[in-house]
Chain length 451, copies 2
């Protein structure tokens, strides 16, 4: 980038918010997935809405590609920049502009950390339900761009279900508004719905209005230990079919249990083939009823059941679950985390298929995930430098996708498509659908400057 | 339309599904709002997906405008055709293709009647929450196109919150797919989110996948009678601020109460200034707790409270509420039903403003609506033939919109924009937002053939 343009960025955002040295550029050249990194030519960090707008206009006027980046925790390459482009960091736009306890909504800037926001709401007895695994560092803007899921998705839905409205800048830096602070709003197209999950390809968030709900009065956590993977996945289907909707219903196979136990010493049953971690919440009487029903169903399926008796015991269970990804990452140099999702009744078929795919290609696959949503994270542990094994990995991934689609599922439940999975999109959606999406993308970003 | 083209429509859809005589054309020239009717040149009723696709292609090849119409219950002119265009009726595409009780979803054709679908789900102990006032005749396709709300919106959300996916035809008749049968799906843009509430302007629905939830175990209905409109609206704000989320929280002013009582003899308290109709649902213990809290709050605000003791008593209350629109419609020849929505804490201000607007212009305004959502339906009763009064009506409507926007609200909570309110859109959204929407519209329907 020529020094004149760099100077303009510095004038807008201030000296301390413009980065051009190699180390900084490298830091922002990849995400949490395993894609090859791409060096941007500059990283800019606006501190407010006005600066953000000026930066986008400068980029637009000079035909510079823009890649927006929050915390960079995403898993499918959606924040990997294109060569020589501009990375726009949202981390300094991190204010909670309003937390309305009467009307139960909040307006935030995109760089607010998810967990910090949720904690602020919780202090007012309000719940912001979406809780992606990376919530301790991920940003709300990133969550919305990816339509992030989380552990509570089963009962409470995903990020888009809490986006009431937003304002964002289009590719030319014009401010677009959609939605409202009111619970219902059908004024104009549901643009905020379209933007949720659009991975930064259609605009750059300025403010986001989020719905909050009263926090549940009570909750109870249950650990069910199974002798077979099949019985565990059948139990998931049975719980839902029995009209119980736990807040959380998580699955871990033996491989993952062992890795987590090695990593976190949480006291998990390393001899068991699979565990389910279940949390029910709501009115105390309802929680009691649901917990009893879940316990009964699990026992009928041959599981042994523990109910957490204290907050500490409960926290230990969930900390173990949240450690799953980090624990698996330590096993081998390269980790391929997939996100295939199937209707919940098809979970036993999917789990069986994963076992046989692992056997067929002689690969290490640890599987865990949001079983209640049918959203599993089969995680292949490998070494990308081992060319021969890498070929097998690619074949296995394709087979996992094919199986998920066969079972009426989808490529991605919550991590998104990004660069990593874009080749598989056509398989799931077909040409007409991709054409429709392309038309929308081209119409609002004709020079293809956004992501 | 030339007879050759008419013949082609007959060949595709069959003799009995093509209408060209004046009476039939007139029947499909208006909706439930008060706009002037526009005569289409032909009405076609496809019986299946294949015929629908052929009809759209025929229209596209001949540059014929298409207006899709379900039951025509909408209230803002979104199904009023353009002159000489083709009206496509969805009423014969009315099958429930799948009702999955294990994975809690259904796949339906767009012409399915909302209430019939909800009843089918209920037989399987499942709830389809969106319940627009017109549910007995409205279609699911129409509900999705308008993102319809309903009485249960407060706790359960609106139609778009239950659209998991869909397939639809674009303006050229290509089939586009979005979403999935899985609870979570972030594969591709959230096109089904964009389509929800797009009022038939972006594509024509083929199938819709809807989320179902376990039906609540118990419910309780409460009628609270107030001596002042202000106290009633303050009570609404207080209930929400006290972290109680009833399934339904409806408001009626004295004028509406009298009209309903005249119409339905439900035994409503005609002397009261305002009533709130409240339903809490969920686990029996939770229902008990919430009902007690609501009762206490209402009494604190000076209301007298009745709790329905039988299913019959409850049904009578809700039938009265559902009769509000029909009852008001009988008072005067022309009814203008507005849909302004404000944050719930601003309800007392809005109700006060409505009273003074009615006084200022000397108009009859009956107000009722989904108070819990901040979504009121101020209903102006007038006679369009009285030119002088009509001028006052137009001024009053504008003032109602301005007040709603002033209070941080929106033009439309659930009825949509259609033709009726499109002039006010710019005021709420601004030019950049309308440009962004236009670009999307033009990109997928370049010849402007859809609605």
């Amino acid at each position: 980038m020529d020094s004149k343009t760099v100077k303009k960025f510095r004038e807008i955002a201030g000296e301390k918010n413009v980065f051009t040295n190699k180390t900084d550029l490298y830091t922002h050249s990849y995400d949490a997935a395993v894609l090859d990194s791409v060096m941007p030519s500059i990283v800019v960090r606006p501190e407010n809405s006005e600066d953000l707008s000026k930066i986008i206009k400068l980029c637009s006027d000079n035909s510079l590609s823009m890649t927006v980046r929050g915390a960079g925790t995403n898993l499918a390459g959606a924040t990997v920049p294109v060569k020589d482009g501009v990375v726009i960091l949202t981390t300094a736009m991190n204010r909670i502009l309003e937390l309305n306890t009467e009307d139960l909504y909040a307006i935030v800037e995109p760089g607010v950390i998810t967990q910090q926001f949720a904690e602020e709401a919780f202090k007012k007895d309000l719940l912001y339900p979406p809780d992606p695994g990376s919530q301790a560092v991920s940003t709300i803007g990133g969550n919305v761009a990816q339509n992030a899921g989380g552990l509570r998705g089963l009962k409470y839905g995903v990020t888009k279900d809490y986006v009431m409205g937003m304002s964002f800048f289009d590719a030319k830096g014009n401010l677009v508004k959609s939605g409202s602070k009111t619970l219902k709003c059908v004024t104009g197209y549901n643009i905020h719905g379209l933007m949720s999950g659009s991975e930064g390809t259609l605009g750059i968030f300025n403010t986001i209005t989020l719905k909050l709900i009263p926090k549940p009065l009570h909750k109870k956590s249950i650990l069910a230990v199974f002798k077979s993977v099949g019985k565990a996945s059948e139990t998931v289907a049975a719980i839902i079919a029995n009209r119980i909707v736990p807040a959380t219903l998580e699955f871990m196979d033996n491989f993952t249990i062992r890795a987590v136990e090695d990593f976190s010493k949480a006291g998990l049953p390393v001899e068991s083939e699979a565990i389910l971690l279940i949390e029910v919440d709501g009115h105390p009487a309802e929680v009691e009823d649901d917990a009893q029903k879940v316990e009964k169903l699990c026992k009928k399926m041959g599981a042994s059941v523990q109910i957490a008796r204290s907050d500490e015991e409960r926290d230990k269970i969930w900390a173990a679950r949240r450690a799953a990804l980090s624990a698996l990452a330590k096993v081998k140099p390269t980790l391929i985390l997939e996100d295939a999702t199937v209707p919940r009744s098809k979970l036993p078929d999917m789990v069986e298929a994963l076992t046989s795919i692992a056997k067929k290609y002689d690969l290490l696959i640890g599987t865990f995930g949001h079983a209640g949503d049918g959203n599993l994270h089969p995680t292949i542990l490998t070494d990308k430098r081992d060319k021969k094994e890498w070929e097998k990995v690619e074949k296995a991934v394709e087979e996992i996708f094919d199986k998920a689609l066969d079972l009426g599922g989808t490529l991605s439940g919550e991590h998104g498509i990004g660069i990593a999975k874009s080749a598989f999109l056509r398989k799931e959606l077909g040409k007409s659908t991709l054409d429709f999406m392309d038309k929308i993308k081209v119409s609002v970003d004709p020079d293809n400057l956004l992501n």
